[in-house]
């Protein structure tokens, strides 16, 4: 596999895609973000996220245990912000309440599991997804499996250092960052409605 200019793009890439880090993709510094393996400003990344979500047929949010459970005020605040963002996009929400490899298998209609995220994506024909509140190591596993076996575009809103294996990742994401991103989405939405009305 070519290590020069490796881009983190929608798959299906292969059965066992390489970790993007091993292909030379590095995590962004504070205040920066990653888009398809390249470091960009947070604003550029937010703008691209908005475009991807608004252009998707079946945008879906995958909230993880860090925000699904009300274990702290910050978690609740972040959960509210993610819900508001999903509502703004008109996206479906499919939760990842924990990381148990369910026996005999999960119901892909109503949940996603990091061990077989491809099942939920295939079943619901998800073309763009957002990870939020998923512990980093499970997010990494899931993002790699998704890139390996599906053509879904992955976006990871990470509270820590970001995820190289997502197509777009923001780092240090707090509730206010999610609200800022929601504003970007709403502005783009309004602009596209305005433009389409002008074209009528």
């Amino acid at each position: 596999m070519n290590r020069v200019n490796y881009q983190v793009m929608p798959g299906p890439e292969c059965y066992l895609p390489p970790a993007a880090a091993s292909m030379g993709v590095v995590l962004p510094d504070e205040g920066r973000a990653l888009v398809e393996g390249h470091i960009v400003t947070q604003e550029e990344a937010m703008s691209t996220i908005a475009e991807k979500l608004l252009g998707a047929k079946h945008p879906t949010f995958f909230p993880g245990p860090l925000i699904l459970w009300a274990w702290s005020e910050k978690a609740v605040e972040k959960a509210r912000a993610i819900k508001e963002m999903a509502d703004a996009v008109g996206a479906k929400i499919i939760p990842m309440p924990d990381y148990r490899p369910k026996y005999p298998m999960i119901d892909p209609e109503e949940e996603i599991n990091p061990n077989h995220p491809n099942l939920t994506i295939w079943h619901n024909k998800i073309d763009v997804c957002v990870f939020a509140g998923v512990h980093c190591h499970y997010a990494n596993i899931a993002l790699k499996i998704i890139r390996g076996g599906t053509d879904c575009y992955t976006i990871a809103l990470c509270g820590e250092y970001g995820h190289e294996d997502a197509m777009i990742t923001l780092r240090d994401v707090r509730a206010q960052d999610i609200k800022r991103l929601t504003e970007v989405i709403k502005k783009k939405q309004a602009y596209s409605i305005e433009t389409s009305l002008m074209n009528v």
Binding site: P63, I67, L68, W69, A70, W71, S72, A75, V76, A79, R80, K83, I93, I94, P95, P97, D98, R100, P101, K102, Y103, P104, D107, E110, E111
Partner: protein, 286 residues
Amino acid sequence: MNKGIIEISPGFEDVMPREYIDLVNDGPYGRKLGIDDLGTFKEAIEEHPLCAGCALALALRLVLASLPAIEDTIIVGSTGCSSLAFSQVAIHNIHSLFGNQNAVATGLKRALQIRFPNKTKDVVVMAGDGAIGDIGLETVMHSWFRGENITTIMFDNEIYANTGGQESCMSPKRAVLYMAPTGKKFPKAAMPEVAHAAGCAYAATITPASPKRLGKIVNQAILIAREIGSTYIQIYCPCPTNFKFKPSESLKMAKDRVKDETYLIKEYFSPEAREFVEGLEKGGGN
């Protein structure tokens, strides 16, 4: 435990799968339930991938129902049949490398005592006879020598069951197994006696054919571990897949082995543990 961890964040109630809503509304957390309450609440384990008739599955169900504070319990497991079920359990659990479960549990218990000095967190090792009696015996024994405040529960199916049927130190003498076709040459290891001699405050054997007694033993072993030191429970879990009996006969097998004294029910207390349990029975509570 932070009770918020079992509350759904506002706005997500309608997207949570039924199973989680049931666990939140009717789960065992913070309710001090026991064996007698089985069938009346949403249990921490329901579906699992173990074989039909596996007595380990029943033993695990009974153990989980007997934990004195399930929401503040962390299971440390190891490789083996039991590890296939732990990943289905709706409480914290850690899968350690094969045999180092008691070392992991020691570190975890000590870290939790530092992190949560005013809270009691029960660290319970649950593993098979291979992890505890053979491969992990060193870490097990040393945790007992040090008197770590952890409970070690052995699911004793007397065999390495999911790797083809090799003999373990807990297989009975002369047992003919898939990977021991000429029969085991040595007797079953006397683990309860080893535990007692190594300094365990409490050591006991039991089978899932005596659920109420099993519940009492598990409960008191964990309470003793909190206050005094290491405790050990050995649960006989007949394996129909490797010992070639019908899955419906697992409990009969357990009863028969106890009755014909080829599986001995034992209980050892240190003087402090005896005094502590007598205090509990007099109404000291937990």
